[in-house]
Amino acid sequence: MNRALVLAPLWLWLTIFVVLPVLLVAALSFSTAIEAVPPFTPLLASPDPANYALLTGDAYYLDAFLKSLLIASVSSLCCLAIGYPMALAIARAPERWRSLLLLLVMLPFWTGFLLRITAWIGLLRDDGWINLALIQFGIAPLKLLYTDLAMYIGITYAYLPFMILPLYARLSRRDPALEEAAADLGATPWTIFRTVTLPLSLPGIVAGLALVFIPAVGEYVIPELLGGPGAQTIGRALWNEFFANRDWPMASAVATALLVVLLVPMTLLRTRE
């Protein structure tokens, strides 16, 4: 009874702000766009799977999905490659330094997300700081902004803390005696990392990859601001349906499909635990 009372606000919150909106979007995805206010046929009046037929039939959406999955995969791996050494270094730093270093990792959150991404435009522009520096070294200015590279830099930069935090949480709890035991038994520093540190941090790696991958799949702002026109992601497709085409039902179908696609890795994660 008490337990139910304590959990009631949580369930209320989840129902109002998660379950109902998702059901609403799902219902909307089965209606049809019309020129009216609101711009769709009444919900569940005549459910029509036409939007899903288009979604699976039109290569435009499939390509967008694949492109988004590719971008999210590459970005999560970049975050892992950069974040793992950082998390390990923080976990191995003297105790009095650790909280300061973690604070530095989270410091960018103190400024607006859009502001930080816009700052990258200034860095990556044809006459931006990076190209100015390259010219100093006698390298011709490179086309950076509005390319896939710029988009990957932006996503990796924005999501890196989400990789570092779970990795650090895992690595900071590792038992230094295990690494000593491995050294004692003849393992070189690299072998210790390969056979002890890395396998024991696997749950942290999985959590970090999920925390980066899942939001990165639906990312809209960074591909839009930094990526080229070729970076036609599912986030941008959704935006176009909703705002450019005013096809709310189609946008809802895209959103629902995205949710289903993301449920797969999340369920896998849960069963792993």
Partner: protein, 350 residues
Amino acid sequence: MADLSIQGLTVRYGPVAALSDLDLDISSGELFVLLGGSGSGKTTLLRTLGGFIEPSAGRILLGDQDITRLPPHRRPVNTTFQSYALFPHMTVADNVAFGLRRQGVPKPEIAQRVEALLDLVRLRDFAGRKPDALSGGQRQRVALARALAPRPRLLLLDEPLSALDRSLREQTRQELLRIQAQTGTTFIMVTHDQDEALAMASRIGLLENGRLAQIGTPADLYERPASRYVAAFMGNDNVFPATRLAPDRVEIDGVGPLQTANPVPTTPFWIAIRPERLRLAQADALNSAGGTVLTAAYFGDSADYAVRLDAGATLQLVQPLSAGFGTGLLPLGTPVTVALPPDALTILSA
């Protein structure tokens, strides 16, 4: 012949010396016990031998090889850690095989040797289990098998029995002795428990503030402590300042004049008397003192008494409770005579 030779070993943490100018030779096949309280430097010494602490000065020779500056993974020395430090993501067999894989031992031989080691520690049926699924005693034996696998010249054991409960400790102690005898490996074991040291050691090194207070056989430390600190650490509370009366006669404060078996020095000295060497006597004997029973504790096969002497001192004594000594516990306040045999008086110069 000394297999391990520690020469002038010093470890400093800032201004504090954890080990000061330590010299120690240990022979091949010994079970050497490093005994000491917390902060005595025993763990520092063990970790320095393992290569985890770099000494500030001194040398460590293993045979003719100077291993002072070798990193842990290049020393023919293995350790069993106090927490066991078993790899939780590997099976028992993989834990034991870890060191062999690092040495590049061929696979069929690894399988063979792992099996032999698991037989040695009686864990053959547990090869496929993860450490989490083992009891404390079993983990201890896996740690031992894992450390013995690379056939180290020297095995370091950090408080191997401290995490086990009492009954298991006794059993594991005997296992350790059996395995040591069977493999012939030199063992250096750290403990804070003097009973453990007495029961297991071929020799004991008692550490006090980073220096060796005494090195000797268990009987040496027990019967012939080199100092008041050693006597107290080995569980002897009967230590008193004394003055010289004659070459074979002393006056102990609060006890009285006594005959000694050994010559008395002319420099200041102390007298230590083991509680079990004292006897309750009926009549006045040579070297006796009168008093009353202050406290009494019954242990079945023996009784512990504290006797307040008429002259002022309090003596701890242990009486066997068996044929010839009576079986009952004396009531508090009973007047008794304590016999102090001359050869029970140990003279301590410091």
